[in-house]
Amino acid sequence: MDAINYMDTNPLHTDQLEQWWIRALEGDALAFKEIHRELFGGLYHYALKLLRDGELANDAVQELFVRLWVRRGSIGPMRRVKPYFFTALRRQILNQLRNTQARALKINGLPGPDIDFSPEEIVVRNEEYENLQSRVMALLNDLPKRQKEVIYLHYFEEMDYVQIAEVMGINYQSVLNLTQKAMQKLRQANLLAILFSLAALYRWYAKIF
């Protein structure tokens, strides 16, 4: 698990975004639109994870883009465009949730800043293991929320540890620790997979003999 392996080398995510941002700084709304096109999916899903409400997530991303456009002068050129947008979105949503929570102690079903994985988001190697999928999901959703967020940003947003540290506002070492802890638990899924294949083998044998 070398951090270097996960460095984001996709040109779309680095140079290209940076170029678009510079053009956006000059007032080029089309370049800003390109950034929106590129990042919307990721930002929307992240907002959805944190807010658990499509409409609110949609609003949050809108607000983010409008705000960053208006404030772009004071932001200036930057190299890490994607993590910047994610950081800003996360902060905006946490503020929003904190305001809500501080106020309404008795609200029922208040969305918490906790991530839930859904079965459609998990791909198991062998489609036979439908059970495995639900076990994996349970395993994932059982993780503490910060571990879940690290896993989410790493695997869904393909961020490296430096970027995750920036987005979550924690230091690099903490990201490593969180990832390691999460991975330890998730490796249990390996065990599950072996058990499932043994069970399949057994059924196969039983059919033949």
């Binding site: 709304a29 919307f40 002068g73 106020r103 998990i122 791909v123 190697r125």
Partner: protein, 308 residues
């Protein structure tokens, strides 16, 4: 972007898949962003067509100041455009009820002794907004997200609607919002209480009731009888261990009649339950008589309750 994100199956026997985003959703989202930034641009009225490092530097240096100026100008501009809008005032007297169809074909049923202020023209800049005093039931027309939200302003709370059926009651120094369908966002006004911050927003789900008054923290509770709170639109009243004091308030708010009893302590102890359907105060008096065993006499806009 690939369907399956960074495949980690060599470490784990499973991978992750990022769910695709609907193109229409993305485009609609961008359109709203674009409208907003275009408004901001046209307000600042500056030419950003130049390019080159020098311009960028200039832009960087002046952007902050310009943004402040633009924002100020924007506020003024919006103010100037909406500063003197014409309003229509809809009022109801005691015992009267009125159904109003708004320009976007949303329907409002205004309860007795209430008023609703409606801008005569709903410009895009001003959005869909109404101001309520008293009580009303709203059935708001759902609109694409690009259209400005529908907002009901009251003294205590602003209700931002995301397409929906709900009841707002602002009588007696408090506000009660009950939601039957859809979703609304609430912003409680600051007022004198430092605890309440205007910008803080709460989201309500169907079947919930929100209450705010001068003395308590605003709160949201589940209420199984949410639909009964708009029963008045059908001349129906829902009593569930309701004290005579509350009934008296209801009668005063609805018909403008007071209620009096020789032994006033009884009023807070005596409770009635059940659904009644009455068209006017006389019928209400007869129902009370029948259910309580008391005699109810009406004189000088007052219901005199006595035990005979």
């Amino acid at each position: 972007m690939d369907d399956v994100t960074k495949n980690n199956m060599e470490e784990l026997p499973f991978g992750f898949r990022r769910l695709p985003v609907n193109d229409a959703l993305r485009e609609q989202n961008w359109k709203t962003v674009e409208d907003a930034i275009r408004r901001a641009e046209s307000v600042s009225g500056r030419d950003r067509s130049g390019s080159g490092a020098r311009i960028i530097r200039l832009v960087r240096v002046f952007a902050a100041a310009a943004c402040v100026a633009a924002l100020g100008f924007g506020i003024w501009w919006i103010g100037a455009r909406t500063g003197r809008p014409q309003y229509a005032n809809e009022r109801t007297g005691y015992g009267e009820m009125k159904t109003i169809v708004l320009p976007d074909s949303s329907v409002v049923i205004l309860n007795s002794n209430s008023s609703l202020r409606i801008p005569e023209q709903w410009t895009e800049a001003a959005g869909r907004q109404v101001w309520l005093e008293g009580e009303a039931y709203f059935q708001v027309q759902k609109q694409p997200a690009t259209v400005r939200k529908f907002v009901v302003h009251t003294r205590q709370v602003d209700v931002e609607v995301l397409g929906t059926k709900f009841n707002v009651n602002t009588r007696r120094q408090r506000a009660v919002v009950s939601l039957e369908e859809g979703k609304v966002r609430l912003s409680v006004h600051g007022g004198d209480s430092a605890v309440l911050e205007k910008r803080a927003a709460m989201v309500m789900r169907p079947g919930q009731v929100f209450v705010v008054n001068a003395t308590q923290e605003p709160r949201i509770n589940d209420d199984k009888a949410v639909a009964a709170r708009s029963g008045w639109t059908r001349h129906e009243f829902h009593f569930d261990s309701t004290t005579l004091v509350e009934v008296a308030h209801l009668i005063e708010d609805t018909y403008g009649y007071k209620m009096q009893m020789a032994d006033s302590a009884v009023m807070s102890r005596f409770m009635i339950s059940g659904d009644v359907r009455v068209q006017n105060v006389e019928e209400m008096a007869r129902v009370l008589e029948a259910s309580s065993g008391y005699t109810v006499r009406i004189k000088d806009k007052t219901l005199f309750v006595s035990f005979h």
